[in-house]
C-alpha cells in the first residue's frame, strides 16, 4: 500500500501498469489499492502544480492569521468550517502559537483578497482579529523549487 501510494505521490500520472512494474505488485492489486485509498479519502485528489506566473497570469496569495474564540463542545472546528467553506480559503490549518487558524487565501488581485478578509472573514462572530500577510514571492511549492532548478551536473560516463 505504502509503496504504491509513494510512487503515485511522486507522479500522479503513472498508470497502474507502470506502478505494478515499479513495486512488483500485480496490476489488479495496484488498481484495488488505489480504489480503496480513494474511497477512504487517503487519496484526496490528483492535482498539477503550476507556476502561473510563467503564463503571465496574475494570482495573489495571502497568509491570514486568524485569532478566534473557541466554542463550547466543538472547540475550533465549527469556526474553522465557517472559514474553509469559502472557496477563497485554499488551505486552513489550526496552529499553535500567537494565533489560532492559518488561512491561505488566493485571489486575482490584492483588492479581491482585501474584500474577502474585511467583508467575509473578519466580521465572523467568533473571529477576534486577523493579520494579513501578502505573499511576495514563491520559492518552493509542494516540495518543488520554482526557480533555479538547475538539474544534475554529472559527467555522462563515469566508472
Amino acid at each position: 500500500m505504502k509503496k504504491i501510494l509513494e510512487a503515485l505521490e511522486k507522479d500522479a500520472r503513472l498508470t497502474p501498469e507502470q506502478i505494478s512494474t515499479m513495486t512488483g505488485t500485480s496490476v489488479a492489486d495496484v488498481k484495488k489499492t488505489i480504489k480503496k485509498a480513494e474511497a477512504d479519502r487517503a487519496i484526496l485528489k490528483y492535482k498539477t502544480v503550476i507556476d502561473w506566473s510563467k503564463l503571465g497570469e496574475e494570482q495573489v496569495w495571502a497568509l491570514v492569521e486568524v485569532k478566534v474564540v473557541p466554542q463550547r463542545n466543538v472547540g475550533f472546528d465549527s469556526i474553522a468550517e465557517r472559514i474553509y467553506r469559502f472557496h477563497e480559503a485554499r488551505s486552513v490549518y489550526l496552529a499553535s502559537g500567537t494565533y489560532d487558524l492559518a488561512v491561505l487565501v488566493a485571489g486575482k488581485t490584492m483588492q479581491e483578497i482585501a474584500v474577502f478578509v474585511s467583508e467575509k472573514l473578519a466580521p465572523l462572530e467568533a473571529v477576534q482579529g486577523t493579520v494579513t500577510h501578502f505573499i511576495l514571492k514563491k520559492y518552493k511549492e509542494d516540495g518543488e523549487i520554482l526557480e533555479g532548478g538547475e538539474g544534475v551536473k554529472r559527467l555522462p560516463v563515469t566508472p
Partner: protein
Amino acid sequence: MSKSGSSHIKLSQSHISEIVRAIPPSGIRKFFDLLSSIEGVISLGVGEPDFVTPWHICEAAIYSLEKGYTMYTSNKGMPELRAELSGHLESRFGLTYDSEDEILITVGVSEGLDLAMRAILNPGDEVIMPNPCYVAYPASVSLAGGAPVQVPTTEENNFEITAADIEPRITQKTKAILLGYPCNPTGAVLSKEELTQIAELAKRYNLLVVSDEVYGRLVYGVEHTCLATLPGMRERTILLNGFSKAYAMTGWRIGYAASDKEIIGAMTKIHQYTMLCAPIMGQMAALEALKANDSEVDAMVRDYDRRRRVIVKGLRDIGLSCFEPRGAFYAFPSIKVTGMTSEEFAEKLLWEEKVAVVPGSAFGQCGEGYLRCCYATALPDIEEALKRMGRFIERHRKK
C-alpha cells in the same frame, strides 16, 4: 653540452614506468571522448547517483567553511568523524573498531583500495578477485606490484564469486581476496551463506580479505552482510566504505577503512606521506551525514528500487536477458541476441539511437557480451532509452 630549455628533451615511452605502461587504458575514457561530440544523448553510462547531496549535509559543510574550518586535519581524519564512524559501525553491524587506531579516513574508497594494496602486497603477491569487476581493482593490485588473479563469474551464477571457484586459484603467493559486493558493474550481491564459505576459505589459507562495501546501503529486498561481522573475520578483513553512493556524495571524496590496527597503521603510513589527510570540508559533510537520521537515504533507496524494476522489466521486454540485480544501481543485460561485441554495440547504439551505455568488456573479459546500464537516471529518461534500445535491438537481432 645540453641546449638551454627543456623543449628539446625527447620523451618516449621509456620514460614511463614499466608498471604503468603495462596497465591498459580505461575502456570508459575512450567512450567518454566519443560521447562529448554528440548532442541529445541519454546517458545510462554514469556511475554515480542522480540525487544532489542532501541539503542538510551541504549546509553543514558551508557552515564549517564560514567558521574557518579550512585547515589540515589529523592524518587519520578528524577524531569526531572517526568516533562517529566507530559508533555507526557498532550500531549498524555490531562491530567494534577503536576510533583511535582502527579507522582511517581516506579520499574516497579509491584511495582506501590503493592504500590497502600497497600496505599488504610484496612484489608478485597475488590477489584473487571476480571478473567482471570495478575497473580499479586489477589496476590497484598491479600498481602496488602485485598480480591480479581473476575468477570468472557468469550470468548463470548471478555473477557471484564462489569459494569453490576461488580455492583452485589459491597459490603460495596468494595474499588476499578482493571483493566488491554489491557489485559495480553487475549489481550482484553475495548472500551471507556464500560469504561464510569464502570466509572459511580465507581462514583456512590465512588470507586477508579486502571488502569494498561502498554500495552496501543500496540493496533491494535482501540484507547486506558486512564481511567483517562473520566469525573470525574482523581481524583479517580490510573493510572499505565511503559516503559517495549512500549519501550521494561522490564529489566530496570521503571514504574510510576499518581494520586491525596493524593494517590501519600501515595504511596510515602511506596515507600521511602521499595524501596527508582527506579534505576537511568533505569530512565535515560526512560527519553531518552520519549524525542525521537515515530517512533521506531510505527514500533514495526506495526510489532506486522503483527504477530498478522498470529497467529490468524493460530490458527483458525488448528481448535482452537480464539477471535480477539486487544491489548498487546497475542492470547488466546480455546482448548475445545481436552477436555484437559489447564495444561494437555500445558505439553503434550511441551513433544510431543516442543512448550511452558502458560496454561490459570495460570491466573484464567476462563482461564481454553485456552492457552496464545505470538506472540512477530520471525515470522518463530510462523509459525513453528503453524505447530507443528496443528499436535498435529490432534492427540488429541476429538473423
